[in-house]
């Protein structure tokens, strides 16, 4: 099944649930009408929250840049010894 079909099925199931709620009037209609808006807003909030949390906990590795510089120095030294010319042409 294509992924879009999966998502559409999910959306349809939720819609069906909502229509069901509207029909049975289990909760006051005025509330039920607003549910889709709540849903979209909470989806947006979830997205923003995830981006925010991800941004705050973004793993960085400044020490890796230093280690890499060391490795580069070592590699250059070795290649020079072996007579490999890697300097910009």
């Amino acid at each position: 099944m294509k992924h879009i079909v999966k998502i559409l099925t999910l959306v349809m199931a939720i819609t069906a649930l909502w229509v069901g709620l509207l029909q049975t009037s289990m909760i006051p209609r005025s509330h039920t009408w607003l549910l889709p808006i709540y849903f979209v807003v909470s989806l947006g909030c979830y997205g923003l929250l995830m981006v925010g949390v991800g941004l705050m906990n973004f793993p960085t590795c400044p020490q890796e840049a230093l280690l890499l510089q060391k490795d580069i120095g070592e590699a250059k030294e070795y290649l020079k010894q072996k007579g490999v010319d890697i300097s910009p042409s």
Binding site: V51, G54, D71, K82, V84, S89
Partner: protein, 243 residues
């Protein structure tokens, strides 16, 4: 690896596509040999006709390390990343293929952890991830981080791919698996990496992750432009309807 265990007879073909990487290819080859001492491997450099003499450096490296360890499989001009992998794979004699960038943003010191993970789990694909503990990125500004996080959340929400880092390109593939998925991937650039892993995931291949760190291009300029975001969104939509 300790001597008690019988070492499986695996061979790893490391495909490195290059374009104007004269300096970096020398450094990366040295580092690969340094970190993969006791592993059977070969390096396949797919150079797209670099004008800076990348191929001359590779030939010199062949003199040092041996022509059977470093294979130069050049192409006449820039022909794209996807076809570079296919081209490299045609000449690969290993049963596993590693794909990595030549610009040193992928450090060869992580290669042993890819191999170990594969041996432990029997995975078809081991992909490097920057977004878990032990991984990380260096040299990105806030905007780049924001874009990256946004893109990631969007993809995770829409595609449910089951891997945390979709656009990373430091990966180890079982050769047969790579051959299988690469033939149906048509995207370019970042999206190509995403398409590969999503298609592999949909086909039910066993995918494992290892943390890697990513130090943005030390030499040379980074290749991220503004239109990349549009391309990314297009790619996301494409994957939604085709996978």
């Amino acid at each position: 690896m300790d001597g008690q265990h019988q070492k499986p007879k695996n061979k790893y073909s490391i495909i490195v596509p290059t374009y104007n990487e004269r300096l970096n290819i020398g450094l990366i080859v040295y580092l690969i040999f340094k970190h993969l001492g006791d592993v059977d491997f070969e390096i396949i450099v797919v150079d797209d006709g670099s004008p800076d003499g990348t191929q001359d450096v590779v030939k010199q490296l062949q003199q040092v390390y041996g022509e059977d360890r470093i294979l130069l499989r050049a192409r006449p001009r820039k022909l794209g990343l996807g076809t570079a992998y296919i081209h490299g794979m045609k000449h690969a004699s290993g049963n596993f293929v590693v794909i990595m960038d030549a610009d040193l943003s992928h450090h060869p010191k992580y290669l042993p952890s890819f191999i170990r993970k594969q041996l432990e789990t029997g995975a078809d694909i081991v992909t490097g991830t920057r977004y878990v503990k032990g991984g990380g990125v260096h040299g990105w500004n806030l905007m780049r981080k924001l874009t990256s996080r946004g893109a990631n959340v969007l993809a995770q929400t829409l595609l449910w791919p089951g891997v945390s880092d979709l656009t990373g390109s430091f990966r180890l593939y079982r050769k047969s698996v790579l051959e299988d998925i690469i033939s149906c991937c048509v995207s370019k650039g970042y999206v190509f990496q995403m398409e590969m892993i999503v298609r592999a995931s949909r086909k039910g291949y066993h995918i494992e992750e290892v943390p890697i760190t990513f130090v943005d291009r030390v030499f040379g300029s980074s290749k991220l432009g503004g239109s990349e975001i549009v391309e990314y969104l297009k790619g996301l939509a494409y994957l939604l309807v085709t996978t």
